[in-house]
């Protein structure tokens, strides 16, 4: 990896997030305005104070006008970014680099997705003109290929593994039930999930992320000015991104038990942040649980579990609220649903709350010496994926 990183050069000084819901009564503009004004207000700033904006949306709007028109911004640069389901994180990443470069002193990332106006179930990509030879499988089906592959590679009974991933959903819904911003606020047991009808491979509907509208925003400033805005900034320790070459789809060696793009992004981020073993230093992590097997594999790709051991660590409760490394303490995509442009920023929002000890008591992580949080956000499918990792901390150094 050749990235130098921007460790401790920039800090996040405010983040806001709307509830993720089926917002029948709110437009894309309403969501953008809600997230942006809330994030500005908590830092006592106005739109005038922001020098440049990055707006992430997969398909709820095109160009910077998606933000500048509803917010009535005067003479400000706004860049619309898209990077599949990692779109929100990409907006943050670009805002961070803009500030680190010295080009701007205050940058804002806003992510939004208005999914529920389509009238269709699920997330559906805009059709692009093609020769009609592209694969037509759903994401759920592509990710369902993981379970049999993992079971065979590591000699885990398939029934048992099915229960393991249901436990991941159980954990995330347990956390989400305690989060007023989450779309689904009901606990559900792994047994209930296992008893549901399969929709793709062995996966049931409750192994899949929900579908919701939402928006979130974050403000980035140079690290040395962070305390001018807040007593508790979050310093950016690492930002990494890997866009895959698609080899998994054609390489007979690829076995659907790892996401090489995620492993590489994590390795890069740990190197930037100077982290040797993430299990020992991270206070918490927000990861991309689009489907339950995804979170299982990520525990290994991100180095939270040894290869072939994540299933066991899940059963041991290592990633629960009281576990050694709490994962998806806000309820994850499972509880929040997945407004594509907003999800990545929502993940950073949870780090913001937890690392600053502002998460509600019933779902706050144990207070320890650990002061680093990790965000992992991916887009695409096993074999053809983009992957983002960031690491945030409460202290410089």
């Amino acid at each position: 990896m050749a990235s130098k990183g921007i460790k401790d050069k920039v800090a996040i000084i405010s983040i806001g997030c709307t509830p993720f819901r089926e917002h029948w009564d709110k437009s894309k503009d309403d969501l953008v305005i809600d997230a942006t004004t809330q994030t500005l207000a908590s830092a006592n700033l106005t739109t005038e104070d922001i020098d440049a904006y990055w707006l992430g949306t997969a398909q709820s709007g095109m160009s910077g006008l998606t933000l500048s028109m509803p917010m009535r911004l005067e003479g400000k640069p706004v860049t619309r970014v898209e990077n599949y389901c990692a779109t929100g994180s990409e907006a943050i990443r670009q805002a961070c680099y803009a500030v680190a470069s010295g080009a701007y002193d205050v940058a804002m990332a806003v992510g939004v997705e208005k999914v529920k106006d389509s009238g269709y179930q699920g997330l559906n990509a805009f059709p692009m003109p093609t020769a009609g030879t592209n694969r037509t499988l759903t994401a759920a089906a592509m990710y369902s290929l993981i379970l049999p592959a993992y079971a065979e590679k590591y000699g885990v009974d398939e029934e048992k593994l099915r229960m393991v991933v249901a436990k991941i959903a159980e954990k995330n819904h347990y956390n989400g039930a305690k989060n007023p911003l989450a779309q689904f606020r009901r606990e559900i047991s792994a047994e209930q999930i296992c008893n549901m009808a399969a929709v793709a491979g062995r996966l049931s509907v409750f192994d899949c992320a929900g579908v919701a509208d939402g928006a979130a925003a974050a403000i980035v400033v140079p690290a040395e000015k962070a305390y001018d805005y807040t007593e508790k900034p979050l310093f950016v320790k690492a930002l990494s991104f890997v866009s895959g070459n698609g080899s998994g789809l054609i390489d007979p060696e690829y076995d659907y038990t790892t996401f090489p793009e995620c492993e590489a992004a994590a390795k890069d981020a740990y190197q930037q942040a100077g982290i040797a073993d993430p299990k020992d230093v991270l206070a918490m992590a927000e990861v991309h649980d689009c489907f339950t097997p995804t979170e299982l594999i990520l525990m290994e790709d991100l180095g939270f579990s040894e290869r072939g051991e994540a299933w066991n660590d899940v059963l041991e409760g290592n990633f629960g609220l009281e576990g050694n490394l709490p994962v998806n303490t806000d309820g994850g995509l499972k509880s929040f649903g997945h407004p594509v442009g907003a999800s990545g920023i929502r993940m950073h929002y949870e780090c913001w709350l937890q690392l600053r000890n502002e998460a509600p008591e019933e779902r706050s992580i144990p207070r320890t010496e650990r002061n680093l949080g990790l965000v992992h956000n991916l887009g695409g499918y096993p074999g053809e994926m983009v992957s983002f990792v960031s690491i945030l901390g409460t202290e410089i150094g």
Partner: protein, 463 residues
């Protein structure tokens, strides 16, 4: 001397037990099965499969023309034969024409080819529909046949054309407008009486044209839509052996029937056997052949008939468009791009991958740049995959995706000799898919949007 150089048949995998229809309608039970084209097949894909089997058999045959016949064309105005031409990867200089519309077009194409020049590849195909509970629904079948017609200088003739006759007679026997899903027929007594006078005249003319005496015909092959007429003709012409018309195993395949029965006759013919093909459709066409040495077909008709799998009457009705079911609440597919389809034609129609110049790593779809740095840019070689066999490395069943036949079975397939692709599996039930199962590519229709059919490749089990 002209005749038939090679033949091949294609019978779709699915079979409907006629008893299932009787059971549904509580009507007197009927015997046998009919063949059923799957939801992703049409007359073009079936004709291609037959033509492909014919061309696999021998490399040194080079058709100069492809003539496609059907009474059930996927396109009007646009030439359907072009799709088959492209899927077969025939040179652009090879002609491609449709002989379509009337059921008689297929025997007409054969006769024209026999009296023409050059090597002509005939691909004849039909999907037969009928209203639920009716005779057409029950007695018809879906299938295709391919015949390569040429001169004896092109290769050993399987069957030498000796002569024939035509009688054309305009009368209302069976008809269908382009909008109708099912055909209609006039009262059978009138039809029988009209044909009976025509057939004997045609028979005499054909024998005389071929220079043969009446008792020299060994096998009579009867094609036509009216069973009672066929039965009468079989009795009156006094030929010892009347070829089984596949009515119990396949059903009447309409435009494909005469060619399919000819394939059946030639796969079982003795050298020197005289075969009269008599098509009783809007008049009478008779073609007389003398068999050469029997060919060994790659996938004989009998084998294909024996290797069918069941389809329920419910699915049959869905596939035939007689039962509209609720689609999933997902956006329906959008039409393909004509420009993109031309650029990708080798892949889309021919299933031609690329192979790294140094590593040999196969890329599906083809790629200008290899995922392996050892290969040079823009130096990949073409790698045809359509006739290869692969195994299922892993698979899943997708109940969520838009499909005309849910659930969709998707497998990661590793091909013998290299090449991996995640691809849909067709002609299989979810419970029958296993890791390690052998599969082979098959050309299918994925969906139709804005009247444009999207053809591409899936795999199906090797049986």
């Amino acid at each position: 001397m002209r005749g038939i150089l090679r033949t091949a048949a294609y019978i779709p995998y699915r079979r409907l037990e006629r008893a299932e229809i009787s059971e549904f309608f509580s009507s007197p039970t009927s015997e046998g099965q009919r063949s059923v084209a799957a939801h992703d097949e049409d007359t073009v894909t079936m004709a291609f499969e037959a033509a492909r089997l014919l061309l696999i058999a021998q490399d040194n045959l080079r058709p100069s023309a492809l003539w496609f016949s059907t009474a059930n064309p996927p396109y009007m105005e646009k030439t359907n034969a072009n799709v088959i031409h492209s899927a077969l990867q025939l040179p652009e200089e090879t002609e491609a024409f449709d002989f379509g519309g009337g059921l008689k077009s297929s025997i007409g194409a054969l006769k024209t080819a026999l009296t023409s020049t050059g090597q002509i590849l005939l691909a004849q195909s039909d999907m037969r529909n009928g209203l639920p509970s009716g005779e057409d629904e029950r007695n018809s079948g879906d299938g295709a046949a391919a015949l390569l017609v040429g001169d004896e200088t092109d290769g050993t003739l399987l069957a030498r054309y000796m002569g024939g006759s035509s009688i054309t007679k305009e009368f209302i026997d069976r008809w269908r407008t382009p909008e109708d899903k099912a055909s209609k027929t006039w009262e059978s007594r009138f039809v029988e009486s009209t044909y009976s006078t025509l057939v004997s005249r045609a028979w005499d003319n054909a024998l005389s044209n071929a220079g043969l005496k009446p008792d020299t015909i060994d096998t009579l092959v009867l094609a036509g839509q009216n069973q009672r007429v066929k039965k009468q003709v079989a009795q009156t012409l006094g030929v010892n052996r009347v070829l089984d018309d596949l009515s119990l195993s396949v059903g009447n395949t309409g435009s494909a029937e005469s060619a399919l029965l000819l394939v059946s006759a030639l796969e079982n013919a003795e050298p020197k056997e005289k075969i009269a093909l008599c098509s009783i459709t809007d008049g009478v066409e008779i073609l007389i052949f003398e068999a050469g040495d029997a060919q060994k077909n790659t996938s004989p008709l009998e084998d294909q008939i024996a290797k069918g799998g069941p389809v329920t009457y419910r699915k049959f009705l869905q596939w035939k468009g007689m039962l509209q079911v609720q689609p999933p609440n997902r956006p329906s597919p959008t039409r393909i791009s004509a420009a993109a389809a031309v650029r990708e034609s080798d892949w889309k129609h021919g299933f031609i991958a690329s192979r790294g110049d140094r590593t040999g790593l196969i890329h599906m779809p083809p790629s200008r740049i290899s995922v392996n740095e050892g290969d040079q840019i823009d130096a990949m070689e073409q790698e045809p995959m359509s006739n290869k066999v692969g195994v299922v490395a892993t698979f899943t069943v997708d109940h969520l995706v838009y499909s005309e036949n849910p659930p969709v079975i998707f497998a990661v397939v590793d091909f013998d000799g290299g090449g991996r692709i995640p691809i849909e599996v067709t002609d299989v039930d979810p419970d029958d898919v296993t890791i390690g199962m052998q599969v082979a590519p098959t050309f299918r229709k994925f969906f139709t949007a804005d009247g444009i059919h999207n053809y591409f490749w899936k795999v199906r089990p090797v049986r």
